[in-house]
Symmetry: C3
Subunit: 264 residues, 3 copies
């Protein structure tokens, strides 16, 4: 059967997501196709990378995740596929898999990446210069989800493109990080993780001139309108407003600095 | 095979809908998953309840409907599942199923509700304080759609949480109701139903200082721009503008009063 | 198994798309259902026609494409189904299939159209005056996708409704066309096609007081912010801004005139 997920900056109005599914189903009629998101901001590779890295490890092993945020389509950027932690990835070699490569390194997982250029028998017959999602990535993904091996669809790559991926920095009892993502509710994600903060007591979280004391476990522990700090469902330190939008309340944006004070 | 539907206030940009599907497919690989809506306004339990109650009885019996509009996630609000009229429901015990309980009572259907807390073997192993959709409701829904029994996943609940659900009131030849929902086209739904009005002749519908004479059957019976009253596809009295938005034309919002004059 | 696609102006917030899927799955439990788009502007038959005609031929033969942009629902407009180039279509007889009929004529494909009124045994039992998507088109589509024959669901139609579908016109070394569609990225589609321009050298493309010299193959050939002309993934002449929105940059809208100068 197999699972294929899609992450793009296409929006959903033009039918370009649907057509990728049509092509994939022509190859693998029993596929389970799941949309991760099609609302990545146009050409925002970092945003796609963040969403993908948060979500894919909840899928069954062997799921194939096709990503099409691809401003370099039709140029000499490589089309690639990869295996990370039992999940398969397909997309452009533009850095969109950077945090997944880092996770492989962190966990000591094997990391296999292949250049799809060598496996054009798995592409559509006609290749548009502007839509490799339909003509390269969806068909290769469908083949992988059908059991074709990673090393059948391409040849090894040792030098994948990476994008900068800023980490939080500790100085004594302070951690300096930044806002990495703002979700549908206006919750602010940061690049500080529960694993890094294990055993520490957080006294305060500061950003945009606002200070939040301590942490809570759940939204419902404070009244509507209260700013809170808590861990997200994927263990990032999160700044939120109960039943509201922290992003609007504090006027924050991606890249804003966040400071955490720990008990000494 | 089984059908699982999803109704949330998550939007579709963050991948939180996709990850629920990934978790469900890990349990039930052949599921048919259908999105009802992910555009419920944040924390708007009433809106989710309205959409759900309108739509679920068109699904095949035994379909499982997972609802995640859940401001109380991580507090002591109960996670529940229920069976109403052959449809299965899974979500937080916060009143979101109120109109479905009422329907069961109206039709004399048996109503079974269970507290999922007793059935944690059907949850994910690790439970986030902030995302029970992924960790509790999607997995329980997938198990139910795979044939696990309602009374295997929890223990009976006799006192589900209810939210107020205003009914229209008749006084002589007048019925007072309200706008309950505004759809994508700007059509205004009311809490007056065809069944309640059977055998009556509607002379006029009034709201927001506007009066509409009589009823039509279909949009195309009047010219573009005309305000009309008709029955919705689910038999609510509807106020609409032909090829336009009644909500914008009359400046109406949910909760606005609607008055219907009947022939005496 | 079978593939059913959906193209509507319903948006995704009200559950009306989900309910069509529920009805279809009640008839054909193993269907693969694919959304083409639900963001057609309300009642915009031309926009739906454009998206549909661009996308459906990438689907496997025998796929069924249900279209519900249907301002005439509940009036005497006919419900129809058709077969064009191996793809099946279901929807209102309001001209939404016009460019597909033209393509059949262009390629000399047989064109079969049937009026569904004669096949009400394939509809839901109760038919709303306002939602034939749920009660007529989804069920008929599900039956067709399950192998019911086109001539079982209706009787032949010889006079389908057509809408005007403007073609580009050549005068010497100039081609006059227009903007036909604006996509998610703000790219401007025109009614000039690669096949019509084969063997020609395009010197310049002009619209809205802006002139673009020559053509490129891919976005990445020019720097961000540059206006370019290139062929779309479906071979229309496209005007785009690299990593930006041509629609916003030049203030263009559907129907604006486009002029192409060819080398003499």
């Amino acid at each position: 059967m197999g699972i294929l997920t899609l992450t793009t900056d296409f929006g959903t109005e033009d039918g370009n997501v649907g057509v990728m599914k049509g092509v994939a189903l022509g190859i693998a009629p029993a596929l389970q196709i799941v949309d991760i998101t099609h609302q990545v901001a146009p050409q925002n590779i970092r945003q796609a990378a963040f969403v993908l890295a948060r979500q894919i490890f909840y899928f069954p092993g062997g799921s194939v995740h096709v990503v099409v945020v691809d401003p370099g389509v039709g140029t000499d950027r490589r089309p690639i596929a990869a295996r990370v932690g039992g999940q398969l990835l397909v997309g452009p070699d533009n850095g969109v898999f950077t945090p997944l490569y880092q996770r492989a390194e962190l966990h000591g997982w094997p990391l296999e990446i292949v250049d799809l250029t060598a496996g054009q028998q798995f592409w559509r017959n006609e290749i548009s210069h502007v839509f490799h999602g339909r003509d390269v990535f969806a068909p290769v993904g469908a083949h992988l989800a059908s059991g074709v091996g990673l090393h059948q669809v391409g040849v090894p790559v040792e030098d994948p493109v990476l994008i900068p991926w800023p980490e939080a920095a500790r100085q004594g009892n302070q951690i300096w990080g930044e806002v990495t993502y703002i979700d549908h509710f206006g919750n602010l994600f940061t690049n500080m993780h529960a694993a890094d903060l294990a055993g520490e007591e957080i006294l305060a979280v500061k950003l945009a001139g606002v200070e939040i004391e301590g942490m809570v476990n759940a939204f419902g522990e404070r009244g509507p309108g209260t700013l809170i700090a808590l861990y997200s469902s994927t263990d990032e330190l999160l700044i939120a407003e109960v039943n509201g939008s922290a992003a609007m309340k504090v006027g924050a944006k991606v890249g804003d600095q966040v400071l955490v004070n720990l008990r000494g």
